[in-house]
Every structure is written in C-alpha cells, then in structure tokens.
C-alpha cells in the first residue's frame, strides 16, 4: 500500500505480456493497450458512420464528426493554404487520435498514453522530420533561406542564423513537452486531491473529493484544447515550410 500513495504511481508501467525479441523489449503493458483502444475508438467511430451510409439528414454522431472534420479542414486551409489539403488526412488523424487518447485517459482505471514523453516526443519528431522533407522537396536548396528572415541587414545574418536554427529545433521540444506536461500535471493533481480526500476524515474529506470532480471537468476541456493546439501547431509548422515566410 505504501508505494500506492505516491501521486505519480499511476504513471508507472508494468508489462502484462512479456515479449523480448533479440535486444528489443516489445512487452505489452497498459499504455500499449490504451493506445490500441484509442485507435480502435477512432476507427470504430468513423466506420460506424461510414458503414451505415451518410444520410442527407445527419444523425447526432454523423453531424458531430462532420462538424469536427469541417473544423479541421478550416484550420488546414487557414494555416497551410489550399495546397495544404493533401495533408488534411494526416492532420485529421493526428487530431482525432490525440483527442481520443486524452479522453480515454480520463476514464478511471485506464491509461493516458499522452502522459508519456516517449509518445508525444515521437509525434513531434515525426512532424519535425516531415516538415524538413516537405520543405526540401518543395524548395530544394532554396529551403535554407528559411533561416534568414526577410528584411534583415547583411551584417545581422551571422547573428540571426543561429537564433533561427535554435527556434527551429525548439519547436518539436515545445510541441511534445506541452502535451506531455499538461496531461501529466492534470492527472497528478487529480491523484493528489483523491489521496487527500481518502486520507482525510469524513467531515473534511468531501472537499478534495468534490474538487476532483470539478478538476475532472476541467481536464476534459484541457484534453480538447491540447489536441487542438497540437494540430494547430502542426499546421503552422507545415505552412511555414511551404510558404517560406
């Protein structure tokens, strides 16, 4: 029981099925299962609507999905432009997957995979490498002019180039740390409040327990906002390398 009192306890992962291939640890733990559930929920939601056939008068689920897709489409158009529509699939999938994983984590007993820096870091690095590839394949050597902001005097270029390189490299870090920190912090606060509520006597214990309910509501908002910010910034970064200033 002693180790269960740590508010960070629920972030620990223990393998459920041990799989070791060569030097690789491919064990299946709670996080892997939560990720599979997340994928299954996204796939299931869209298949449910797609299989049933879209009707002219949309039902509740269909109109909800259509609204969110329209919303993402507007985001892609705004930040990348019309030629950004080929990245719409990627951005949409990213949004729904992160949103589902964030929301699934709020169900007691499940696991928030976005509270692992490995997961958010992988997303961010993939997006970073993708923007580099898009930029270089679109503009060739001219792509590196992104490191020199327009209207900079020649004498300032040796100063501006390192600054621009640093701000380029900071993007994946801030992208991944933001999502990871928000999720971890929220769940830690919930765990601390819950621990307080359980260890306090009944006459005062209802207070922290009540707060967990309120914070849980706030966490739902944060789950949506963080998924939104993550996808918006992905669009901004892709738009930056396509437009080059």
């Amino acid at each position: 029981m002693a180790e269960k009192e740590s508010p960070l306890h629920h972030f620990e992962l223990h393998p459920i099925v041990d799989i070791h291939l060569g030097g690789l640890d491919l064990s299946i733990n709670k996080a892997v299962i939560a990720m599979w559930i997340g994928m299954a929920v996204v796939y299931g939601l869209f298949m449910l609507v797609g299989k049933k056939g879209t009707s002219m008068i949309p039902g509740k689920l269909q109109s909800m999905l259509e609204m969110s897709l329209e919303f993402i489409k507007g985001m892609v158009k705004e930040f990348i432009g019309d030629e950004g529509m080929k990245y719409f699939n990627f951005v949409g999938t990213l949004f729904f997957f992160i949103l589902c994983c964030n929301l699934i984590g709020l169900i007691p007993g499940s696991y928030t995979i976005t509270s692992q820096l490995v997961v958010t870091g992988t997303f961010a690095v993939i997006i970073f490498v993708m923007t580099l590839i898009i930029g270089i394949s679109k503009h060739g050597g001219h792509f590196f002019s992104i490191l020199v902001p327009p209207g900079v005097p020649k004498i300032m270029i040796p100063v501006m180039v390192p600054i621009e390189i640093i701000s380029m490299l900071a993007r994946p870090i801030s992208l991944s740390v933001r999502l990871f920190a928000n999720m971890t912090a929220g769940h830690t606060v919930l765990a601390v409040l819950f621990g307080l509520g359980l260890s306090a006597p009944m006459w005062i214990g209802w207070l922290p327990l009540g707060f967990t309910v309120i914070i849980n509501g706030l966490e739902i908002a944060i789950a949506v906002i963080q998924a939104y910010i993550f996808t918006t910034l992905t669009c901004v970064y892709i738009g930056d390398v396509i437009k080059l200033h």
Binding site: M67, S167, S174
Partner: protein
C-alpha cells in the same frame, strides 16, 4: 470546439508562449554545452548559447503575439465592415 471561447483560447495561447520560450532557451543552452564539450572551451559557448536561446525564445514569442494581434485586428475590421 467551434465555440472555443476567449478563456480557452487565451489559456492555450499562454501555455504555447511559455513552453516556446523555455524550450528555446534550453535548446540554446544544450547546443552551447555540446560545443563546449567538443572544443573544451567551457563555459564560453554555454553562456553564448543561453543568450542566443533566450533571444530565439523572445523572437518566437514576439512573432506569435504579433500574428495573433494582427488576426484579431482583421477579425474586428471584418466584423465592423459587415455591419451596415
């Protein structure tokens, strides 16, 4: 999500600016530290890296803020234009 109110947007905005600044400073410091380790010139590149990182962070925050202000101004103008 379509009806994100000002509070939510502001909160997301604040979180975005904060992490951007910290990440840029850390990257600058990390690059400086790596260069020091490479050339054995501790602590000069580290100091320079922190300064450059901080500058990059400020620049990023400034750009994001200006962009948002411009967008808000455009929205306000559109709203007043559409009113007869």
């Amino acid at each position: 999500m379509g009806q994100d109110n000002g509070f939510h947007q502001g909160m997301g905005f604040a979180a975005r600016l904060g992490t951007e600044m910290v990440a840029a400073t850390l990257i600058g410091a990390g690059m400086g530290y790596a260069l020091d380790w490479l050339f054995g010139t501790r602590p000069w590149f580290l100091a320079l890296g922190v300064i450059f990182g901080g500058a990059a962070g400020c620049l990023g925050v400034y750009r994001t803020a200006m962009q948002t202000i411009n967008e808000n101004n455009e929205n306000d103008n559109n709203e007043t234009d559409s009113n007869p």
